[in-house]
Symmetry: C2
Subunit: 357 residues, 2 copies
């Protein structure tokens, strides 16, 4: 865990007190980095939160080099998005730039690092939502678009539609000049080995006739997402994923489903989710966080906690979410061992965490 | 408009009063067929509501024969579903049977009557949600499954997934023995002429270079849906559609999106929507009705009215929805000229309407 020391001056008693307070407050997996000051100045509220997937992320399983690689990439994404906000740019550009960095890294299950489906291909999904207009765009089952989040933005801006899928979505992206890549771009030995392991397990189960093959859960954690609040109070949420290893039958998860894996509304908050997507679809997880704030006067932290630890938990689902409200408060939560996550705000917060801290 | 006379005895003054009251109450497009009695006996609450799409459905545009054909088919679907409920059957079977009848008719834009996409094919979507478990199933972009709602039920019951799409969904349906048909089964001269008209308009616009071709709205009203409440208090909602005439790029609308075009929750209500799907996705229309009841103590009628006449209206969307709550109260509403709709309940209601009555 990294602690933000920017506001602490440990040479004074007040500084030591602030440091201790920071340590205590940081010691919750469920964070609520709210700040009274954030309510007073609209220019000072801007912030950016990102995730790189939730799952069995445990300190004992990570080498120092791995930890450093994830930290570095999350910091790079935070910095890129935050710079846009600092310069007065739109939340959508911040979200796009942060997600592009994660999509271009092999570390996460999105874009370059997308997992293999049953046929040995990458099938990616992404979505974006603009909290001011509720305009939304999404793509599902695309295979040759370098940055799926850019395709989602294109759908939002250039059509009346929300969700385009498969070859049709690719044709549309190509027509509009989006960067297309050969499927070999997405090849990585690590992901290919995951596919072979998943298929091996499946074969063993088929031979034992012990279960329905459709019931094997090969969810690969690593979906990426970002929520940004800009200086004009606009909230944008984006999510991008490679879905599940060994995925079959054109399965679509929650990432491209507005209200399930992604949601933004300037009146309440923005949310991006990661986990076993079907549970986030059935609970309308991202929309529910906004509703609990708007209709039930929940704080962002309470809303996120209720959706993860009651709605998702009670159905047996696993995963996590990041959220940012209109006042610049941030909350993240998960019911897995860990979630790659980072937060950077106009108040000087710069937090990167991975484990259940 | 048909008036339910079952509970009126016009030979007595009380009977005449009841008849007049019925006439007055029926004179609202936004109906709320609530009944005090429905709250008192759980066995007496069962009911079924269906729609066959909202749009420019006006009395002056309909021949008597057309009106009779729609009325007959809606009655057939109501009767089939209601019989299941009357015999103590599960709400899902009632929904399936009612929707199968509408899917097998060329009158509606679902199954047999599905419209043509840009390539001259039918691309159909459907979804089902079980209000007791929140289990859900959906298919998008399928082309050879005779009854798309059956594929949605199969996904719900035989996988951990919610949404399967395209060829993958078809492969899965075939593997599980669902009835497949040649695409010629879906051919109808009427729908083909609609495609030619839509493409003609598009060509004219391209030649005039007057607009972005993606912005042409060829929404074909005629999506079908059904919500049932059975004797055990289970609510199930189902929706099935052929989408938009001249649809391109693998566009997916709201019908297969849980929370957008379809939602069910035994704690609140079931909802099925029809209209310009993108607006129902952005507002999470079906989920929002449930939320307004659960979190804001709205009546079903108030919730449905707010979503259609505030949420959808304010974004410029058009369409309608049917809903049924856990107490057997029914509400339907739309902001179009008409919506094909029918309601049958254990209290003897049997209502079929089409226009803005």
């Amino acid at each position: 865990m990294k602690i933000n020391l920017k506001h602490s001056n440990i040479s004074s008693p007040k500084g030591i007190y602030l440091l201790l307070l920071t340590l205590v407050l940081s010691n919750f997996a469920c964070a609520d980095r709210s700040s009274k000051e954030s309510l007073t100045s609209s220019k000072k509220k801007y912030a950016l939160v990102i995730h790189g997937g939730a799952g069995t992320i445990k300190k004992e399983n990570m080498t120092e080099a791995q930890e450093a690689a994830y930290t570095k990439k999350i910091q790079e994404a935070l910095d890129a998005g935050f710079q846009v906000l600092e310069n007065g740019g739109h939340a959508e550009i911040a979200v796009q730039q942060a997600i592009n960095i994660l999509e271009n890294s092999p570390l996460f299950n999105a874009g370059k690092g997308a997992v293999f489906n049953h046929k040995g291909q990458q099938e990616m999904d992404a979505s974006i939502m603009d909290g001011r207009t509720l305009n939304s765009g999404a793509v599902a089952g695309i295979r040759h678009i370098k940055n799926p989040i850019n395709a989602a933005i294109l759908v939002k801006d250039s059509t009346r539609h929300v969700l385009l899928s498969g070859q049709g979505a690719e044709d549309f992206a190509k027509l509009h000049g989006l960067e297309m890549v050969d499927s070999s771009y997405f090849y990585s030995e690590r992901r290919y080995q995951s596919l072979l392991r998943a298929q091996g397990k499946e074969q063993a189960l088929i031979q034992k006739k012990s279960t329905n093959i459709e019931l094997i859960d090969n969810h690969q954690y690593g979906t990426v997402g970002c929520v940004a609040l800009d200086q004009n109070g606009n909230i944008v949420a984006g999510t991008s994923t490679g879905g599940m290893t060994n995925k079959k039958y054109g399965r679509i998860g929650d990432s491209p489903i507005i209200g399930a894996g992604n949601y933004a509304n300037n009146a309440s908050c923005g949310v991006s989710c990661t986990g076993t997507g079907e549970y986030f679809i059935r609970t309308l997880a991202a929309h529910q966080v906004s509703n609990l704030i708007l209709l039930n006067n929940f704080s962002l932290k309470e809303a996120v906690r209720q959706v993860i630890h009651q709605d998702i938990d009670s159905l047996g689902g696993t995963g996590g979410m990041i959220a940012l409200d209109k006042n610049g408060n941030m909350a993240w939560d998960f019911n897995t061992e860990g979630m790659y996550r980072g937060f950077k705000s106009a108040h000087g917060d710069n937090i990167i965490e991975m484990y259940n801290e």
